[in-house]
């Protein structure tokens, strides 16, 4: 329950920052660019996590970074679910030639190391214009993560659909004369969809860490603060003894990942006892 609370807190915070930006409320996180004190002021009662080189409050930057991370992880999840689930279901249901093509696509993608694949996509997609829309900052990041991460869920759904295909309820649906689209999307998918939820509650952590690494390598959000960019700043600052920016970003990532990890495990144990990890 505590974990769920922590996750909800992060999501609420991200949503709240969106609202605040939309209505132009002048609250802490949206005012991250403002000077809150001297350059590199250590943590004090005024600035709980101190300030960075420009005198901006680290606490505000960290809170703002929540929005970036949650957005990236959420959009990446959505993209990979939208690609992976239908492809997996179609491959598992029809088998034959369609199946072979889809299996070929995902075996190809999965034979390139994951992080290298994300990096290659992110490098190429960055600052490209598609249909008059320029992919800047986080858009390129979540596209890169989303377009490369659907493989796992596609494989999972395909396997599960193959198992379910010959069950009675599917045969019954066929005998009613249901269309194939209806069987796949109204009968089969709802029966395997809990796997998607379990998979993504655990994958969310990987997405957040991937965003941090991409931002750190300079492929992420450039103008607004994110956790990865904060860690990148901290790389130089640490040798001067400025540890608070690093600590703030680490703490923020740690609690979110910990909560998601525990929550994902609990979810798996209750929804799918077969996969239980003792």
């Amino acid at each position: 329950m505590l974990c769920l609370g922590v996750i909800a807190l992060y999501f609420l915070l991200a949503g709240f920052i969106y609202l605040a930006e939309f209505f132009d409320w002048r609250i802490g996180p949206t005012l991250w660019a403002e000077q809150a004190g001297q350059s590199y002021a250590p943590p004090s009662s005024e600035n709980i996590f101190g300030t960075d080189i420009f005198g901006q409050s680290v606490l505000r930057k960290t809170l703002y970074g929540t929005k970036i991370s949650i957005t990236v992880a959420l959009c990446a999840s959505l993209i990979s679910i939208v690609i992976g689930v239908p492809l997996g279901a179609v491959a598992g249901y029809f088998r034959g030639f369609v199946d072979e093509i889809i299996v070929w696509i995902y075996s190809t993608l999965s034979s390139v190391p994951y992080i290298l694949l994300i990096l290659a996509f992110a490098v190429v997609l960055r600052d490209k214009t598609f249909f008059g829309y320029k992919l800047t900052g986080i858009t390129a990041v979540y596209l890169a993560i989303g377009l490369t991460s659907w493989v796992g869920i596609c494989r999972l759904i395909r396997g599960e659909v193959i198992k379910h295909k010959d069950r009675e309820y599917v045969l019954a649906a066929i005998s009613y004369g249901c269309t194939r689209r209806r069987i796949i999307f109204r009968h089969l998918l709802p029966n395997v969809f809990h796997l998607v939820i379990i998979d993504f509650s655990l994958r969310f952590v990987a997405f957040i860490h991937a965003e941090v690494i991409l931002s750190f390598l300079g492929l992420g959000e450039a103008e607004r603060p994110s956790w990865g960019a904060m860690i990148n700043d901290a790389r130089i600052e640490l040798s001067r003894g400025v540890w608070w920016q690093m600590a703030a970003a680490t703490v923020a990532i740690f609690f979110l990942s910990l909560a998601l990890n525990i929550f994902g495990d609990a979810l798996r144990d209750s929804l799918d006892p077969k996969l239980r990890i003792q």
Binding site: S107, S111, V112, H209, I213, I231, F254, D265
Partner: protein, 312 residues
């Protein structure tokens, strides 16, 4: 056996084709013409044309024996990846980087595997105890700390603050000196997830009847664990271990960047910063080939450890 091998080898052909197609689509179709970027600001049209000529970017994309599509395949299959931004052939750069990368990743990898497998056996034996629960808690906590934080804090405290290790790579250091700290950090960061995985594998094995029989016969715990359980848990272990080997060649992007070790990860980071598509494309292709090869080795290993799996 031979028939299986041939069939299995044939199966890798579409995968290699797919990887080549992927790199072509990514770096040539989506990536686009980078000759203007290579030429730099204020370059004349002639320089740009010369660069286009050299990289073959002025040729048609498809539908010709001399098209970019065909050349991409030809070059990749002969391991000729052209020149990087600094005019050095890409393949030379990669060859130079393999050594330091392996020096870093090999001890790290074997450290993680040996420690986590033996620890997981012990923990599976004392399952349910305080030790077991606290290990799981530490593992999950370790998995939640970002990799970057492990590296930064490790570098800061162990090398910079306490001076136990050199902070950066420098050519006059011996390999063992500059590799020690990154290896240590890598093991610390990778242990959580691996230990947790192997613990699950071992626990699944421990519940089997043959374990009870072995204990009932009066065999020692050590013999049961290492002779019986470990042998039967070999399949998932092999999958995880052998398939991780191709990644060793890639080096560790982040560790090499932080410690300035001139391996393949460092090369990759440099290539990202300068948007050097040739290097990134070559690295993607080579690592995919390695992965395909090791996938094949895994399948052969299965039949060696488990006679029930026949190569039919």
């Amino acid at each position: 056996m031979t028939a299986y091998l041939i069939r299995r080898l044939l199966y890798t052909v579409p995968i290699v084709f797919g990887v080549l197609l992927l790199t072509f689509v990514l770096f040539t179709l989506v990536g686009g013409d980078i000759s203007i970027e290579i030429a730099g600001k204020g370059a004349t049209q002639e320089t740009i044309d010369e660069i286009r000529e050299e990289y073959g970017l002025n040729k048609p994309l498809f539908l010709s024996w001399d098209s970019q599509f065909v050349n991409h395949f030809r070059n990749a299959l002969t391991f000729n990846f052209g020149r990087a931004r600094d005019r050095e052939p890409v393949i030379d750069k990669i060859k130079r980087g393999v050594g330091p990368s392996l020096a870093l990743t090999m001890p790290m990898f074997f450290g993680i595997v040996i420690i986590s497998i033996s620890l997981s056996l012990v923990i599976a034996f004392v399952r349910g105890s305080v030790w077991d629960i606290s290990t799981v808690i530490i593992c999950v906590a370790g998995m939640s700390i970002p990799y970057l934080s492990f590296i930064l804090f490790g570098q800061y405290f162990l090398a910079y603050k306490w001076g136990l290790f050199p902070v950066f790579f420098s050519p006059e250091l011996r390999m063992a000196q500059y590799v020690a700290l990154p290896v240590l950090i890598g093991i610390a960061a990778g242990l959580g997830g691996n230990l947790r995985f192997f613990r699950t594998v071992m626990l699944d094995e421990m519940r089997n009847d043959y374990v009870r029989t072995a204990f009932a016969k009066g065999l020692t715990a050590r013999r049961v664990l290492f002779k019986h359980v470990l042998k039967n848990a070999m399949i998932p272990i092999i999958t995880r271990v052998v398939l991780a080997i191709p990644f060793l060649f890639l080096g560790s992007l982040l560790l090499e960047r932080f410690f300035g070790i001139p391996g393949l990860g460092y090369l990759m980071v440099e290539a990202i910063n300068s948007r050097d598509y040739f290097v990134i494309s070559a690295m993607t292709y080579i690592s995919a080939i390695l992965f395909v090869v090791f996938n094949l080795i895994t399948d052969i290993c299965y039949s060696l450890v488990d006679p029930r799996i026949s190569l039919e």
